[in-house]
Symmetry: C2
Subunit: 124 residues, 2 copies
Amino acid sequence: MFSIDIRGKTPIYEQLLNRITELISSGAMSENERMPTVREVAKDLGVNPNTVQKAYQMLEQRGLIYSIPAKGSYVAKSDTVINTVKEQALARFRESALNAINSGLEPNVLKTEIEKLEGGTKND
Amino acid sequence: MFSIDIRGKTPIYEQLLNRITELISSGAMSENERMPTVREVAKDLGVNPNTVQKAYQMLEQRGLIYSIPAKGSYVAKSDTVINTVKEQALARFRESALNAINSGLEPNVLKTEIEKLEGGTKND
DNA sequence: CAACTGTACTAGTTCAGATAATACAGACGA
DNA sequence: TCGTCTGTATTATCTGAACTAGTACAGTTG
């Protein structure tokens, strides 16, 4: 389902959060598509359903999915939400870029790095 | 001395670590310059000396400073170490850049952001 | 009604961060 | 030499948050 690393240092719910966010914002999961149930994912990963639910809750809180009690969870994917995701990604980008520059890296080097990444986006 | 945010979510020792690393790698603190003593910084920030020492220890472990027992701590700033700092900063940069691109941000936007940052490095 | 759904609540475990209290050994100036 | 400063080491403790687990509830659906 969602392949994550159970024995990693990063929390399970956070891995799920990131993975699903990527899948949705990249278009791998289409709008109104039904998400696997909390219990399904939990069983699949061998974790507690609440752990999965935590990820789902945060996804809903951020507007990436919507959940209907007793029915299921579905992909929301509104444009405004996607924009929020982008803004946050941009904020993180700015921070790391500033740090890199403050560490003495040349802006040109950073630009070159971006160009290297252009081709290789990791959309599954 | 080192202005940090005591009531932040990021640990005190880590803030110290980052701030001092910036100051050294940016050239704000010159080579062989004497660092304020552990007890000085602790008193100044109102924290426990051990917390400051933890930051100093990690700085020495990374080769950014060198400590002489009973004398003091001094800025090391060897080129190889600075390069390591840069590499790590670059790695973080790549990660956030990749994430930004995966979120649907155009590489050109990222390049523009870098240009915006070029002028305003926050060297105190 | 039975099986599924999301959801809420509580509890327990673990861990990182921070503090505290000392103690030791070397350097250095008075 | 002596007192004071330096970095360093050790151990214990407290706290709070993060994370996960267990369980129960309410609504939907066939």
